[in-house]
Amino acid sequence: QQQVKQSPQSLIVQKGGISIINCAYENTAFDYFPWYQQFPGKGPALLIAIRPDVSEKKEGRFTISFNKSAKQFSLHIMDSQPGDSATYFCAPRGNSGAGSYQLTFGKGTKLSVIP
């Protein structure tokens, strides 16, 4: 899990503001870069993902920016809403061998959006 470093650990944003979460990785063999959203008592759910041949992907209020040379990718939440309050995980995917792919999760960022 030390292959993936996520920051910040927690984030408080006012409603309507921009939330930014960063993820740095070491394994250059990662081939898929998703962000997962987890609400209390639930399992993680895929929010948005990007492949390394693209530098940015936008889906509604959520954007991933990917910097291959810096081995970093980030999640931007525009117009943050109280309903976005959750824990967010970066979880890049890599080949563990024998054709098996696995996600490596960061430690998570707890986002609180205050009215």
């Binding site: 639930k42 399992g43 993680p44 895929l46 995980f89 995917r93 054709g99 098996s100 696995q102 999760f105």
Partner: protein
Amino acid sequence: EAGVAQSPRYKIIEKRQSVAFWCNPISGHATLYWYQQILGQGPKLLIQFQNNGVVDDSQLPKDRFSAERLKGVDSTLKIQPAKLEDSAVYLCASSLDTGSYGYTFGSGTRLTVV
């Protein structure tokens, strides 16, 4: 589409007791994963199945943890004997195949060892 089903939702046991968790993946998903999520951390993969065969169990503490997926559908994860540090949420996830990008997680079983 029904999600990944897990039971029980909560379990409290004393240390040195045994416990078992059950998972029913999405229909047609060949790959099944068990993750351990300790409070305040990201999920950590314990074991990965492809149909009824083990693909990777390198992070499974085999002296106390075991898992099976006999018919390539449902799976059980067992801990025997449990230790205090096993307190965590145990998440099951499934995907169409080992190369698939889409993973669906269940809501997990919260285990407390006292």
